[in-house]
Amino acid sequence: MKTIIQKTILLLLVVSSVEGWAQNDKFWISGAARNVMYGDRFENQAENDTTTPRNLQSGHTMVDLGVNINPHENVLIQGMVRIRNDYGGFWGSGVTFDVRQLNVKGIISNVVKYQLGDIDYRMTPYTFYNNPSLVNRNPGNLTGVPLNQVQYDLFYFDNNTWRQQGAAAEFALQFNQFVEELEVNLFTTRIRSALDHDGDDRLFSGGSAKLIQSDFVNISTQYANLWDYQGTSNNTEFLRNPVWTSSFETAFKYKDINFNAALETGRSQLTWVDDPEAPLLEDFFYDAQVKAEIPAYGLRMMVGYRDVGADFRSAGAQSLQINFNRNPRAYGNIGNAQNLRGLTMLDLYRDPSLYQMQIREGLQAYDPRYDNATPYGRATPNRRGLNGIVNYEDLKKRWMIEGETEILRHVVGEGTEALKQFITNTVYAELRLHEVLKMKDRKFVLSSRVGFQNTTRSGNQDYESVDLATQFQQHNLTLTLFGNFDFIAEWNTWQTQGMDLMAIRNSYSVIRNFSEFAIDYNESIRGIGMQYRFTEKTNLHFLWQTFNWNEADADKYMINTWTVFFTMNF
């Protein structure tokens, strides 16, 4: 272990020196490095488990080395290699080399920007958008450390892009009168290859055109289509999932209030051409939002209303990050019977194998514990209702509070004419004690997020009634002890109780049956840790967490885990 750490540090020093040596206009190196060590201790509290290992250790050292070549001013070539050594590998046997990314970007005639290879792309929440699940949306002080790395590995970035392979181009036209500019973006990417799957090449293509009338008004139209490239295999059925949307946004100021109003509306189709069994699913949506900001009072508000049809299908916007059909790698089987262990919050925060990177047609299965109201983001079909956010921040930045609510209903019933109602409420508060106590060069922050999500339906018959309630809360503490050395702590709980009837869909994403989902469980993560900030991009964390899973009439176990995390971006 000591040797590995020494080698890692040596490698990073070499990388740093190469960076310094090679940094020039034509060629430079960028990337990231990471060293992770986990130590888990499992305790089965449901039975005298003599089969599951008590202690597990794992970890790896990893370096992403990116080469940036700028042969001339209008072309940039980027290539990144990942070198990873899992603990336990010796003399190279545990070392893997992967190409993490390759792309070429540039400008043609100072007009058209293009990018080939790996591209990170998004459009609107209804066309092409990478939605984090509710459980992942607000990671805490401790849980956010491994989750950031998982998201880095999977190319899930804060701007909600999906990593794709293909080509993209954009250009803009400027006008003298009436409108300022027209921005045009086009892309096409290959989702799967006919060589690797039993089917045609599947492409995802589209683009947008945005007309900027002025600083106050813009109008845009978007198009995205997941489609099979006919003739690339012997397949005789061809997926088509086009989505057309149109957006309007206006921003203006009235007295001291900044207003922003936006509307997006559109429709979709989903079918498999030449498949006599396949239905044609068509539907539309609209989503209107009004935002207001009063900087003088530190107040921001948003209210929105949306209606997304039950048959609205948009693969680029509805694909899930989490593959809920998978099981965690750590302690995948537990108990004397070695039953499969279901995924938990702890796993979602640190196990990249639970996620997927490709967009998928139709609607994937989801776990209602972690978001039953909007599992597919704003584009979740069969939802209609209001949402709102109020945010107040103290003008001296000493504290802030934010409340968010979403009250949705089914547009049409599932299995009955009675409609389900989904209510999600969250309150977040942050107290910056270092500002209150006027502690210079230190951070002392307390924050809490408390929320619940209820799914209810009542009908004439008992079997129509559902009632599923999820409650979650997260409390964080950050305290700078000295210099760049912080003490951090987190307490995170998630619990769900009740019953819902979940739709079981066929391969065409049409409901063919319902299954009863009944649960009474809670899980929690409590932990403390230290973090040292070498620089803004280089951190060292030492974390200790205890995770508890408690499910009525089922599993009850605990995993204590310590983690060392060294992360660096360069």
Binding site: L263, T265, F284, E414, G415, I511
Partner: protein, 333 residues
């Protein structure tokens, strides 16, 4: 600005005004979880039916929710079976009509039948058993080569090897797939694959050629075959001899198309083949036809049926019934 807002407003209206399917998504919960009940009992429109005149039987029943249901009809003499299935809360003329067809051979004969209703997901449910007398058999459309009901036609030719237990004959039995007679073929020939054959020339029906369509894609040959439980070595070859030059004689330079079938299941089964799927076989392998090479069902002059078996495998046996040509689709028994 106002133009922009107006156009956007109109554009949005376009989408918002779109029609939407407001029907409930998925199967009804009432059908999955609702309590089962029989609101109207299982009945039949008649207790006696003559299918030969086009009469039908209509079954009726009403449930308290939609269910999967099955109506079983069984011939008391032949053992013929017909199952009508559906998923609905009402059984009536739209989904439960019996016109004399069968699912499991033999075909229904003039015989007493019983009918009962099953609801597979309701273990405790049982309906009354209804009696229906079949007064006349259903007439299947098509050109009948033979159903062996009229005895051995003197125009047919047979050839039997000098083997053991050779048995090529018409048998009368209520278990015949159609009517009361079938043709039995059996024997043991230790020196050759061929056990015996029977030829059905069109001339046996006072015809020069069989009166079939000119389009081989529309013509289907159908036959019922029965394999006894203990037979493992059977295979049967059908040959279709065309009179290419239409001179009334069959010569070696005219087309012969064939198909053979093996590995039959025990009991009666229907074999149907589209005329355009026939090929010329030489020693069991496809080969160019000797004649004009054009599939011409309207020139078909003779059908040969050959019972074969590996000489080392001993006794073989098959029954055959109801050789019939149909148009556009296989025989619907």
């Amino acid at each position: 600005m106002k133009y922009l807002i107006t156009s956007l407003f109109l554009f949005s209206l376009f989408f918002i005004s779109c029609d939407r399917d407001k029907s409930v998504q998925g199967p009804l919960l009432d059908d999955i979880y609702g309590e089962f009940s029989l609101l109207e009992p299982f009945t039949t429109s008649t207790n006696a039916v003559d299918f030969s005149t086009g009469e039908q039987v209509v079954f009726e029943a009403t449930f308290g929710k939609q269910v999967n249901w099955e109506i079983h009809i069984e011939g008391q003499t032949s053992g013929a079976k017909r199952i009508i299935e559906g998923f609905s809360s009402t059984i009536n003329a739209t989904n439960a009509v019996w016109n004399g067809r069968t699912n499991v051979l033999p075909m229904f004969k003039t015989e007493p039948c019983r009918a009962y209703l099953l609801v597979p997901n309701e273990d405790n449910f049982s309906s009354d058993t209804l009696s229906i007398s079949v007064l006349g058999e259903r007439v299947t459309p098509g050109f009948v080569v033979t159903d062996f009901e009229s005895g051995f036609n003197s125009g047919w030719n047979t050839f039997l090897q000098s083997g053991a237990n050779m048995n090529f004959r018409i048998v009368e039995s209520p278990l015949a797939a159609q009517g009361n007679f079938y043709y039995e073929m059996g024997g043991e020939v230790p020196f050759d694959f061929l056990i015996g054959l029977i030829e059905f020339p069109a001339s046996a029906q006072q015809l020069q050629r069989y009166p079939l369509s000119t389009n081989p894609n529309n013509v289907y040959f159908n036959v019922f075959l029965y394999k006894p439980e203990n037979i493992r070595n059977e295979f049967i070859l059908f040959r279709f001899l065309e009179d290419d030059n239409e001179d009334g004689t069959l010569q070696n330079n005219e087309d012969v198309y064939s198909f053979e079938t093996r590995s039959l299941q025990p009991g009666w089964q229907q074999i149907s083949i589209r005329y355009s799927d026939l090929v010329n076989l030489v020693n069991g392998q496809p080969a160019p036809p000797a004649g004009n090479g054009v599939l011409e069902p309207h020139k078909l002059a003779r059908i040969d049926v050959l019972l074969l078996a590996d000489p080392s495998t001993g006794y073989s046996q098959l029954y055959m019934d109801n050789l019939i040509f149909t148009e556009n689709q296989p025989l619907q028994p």
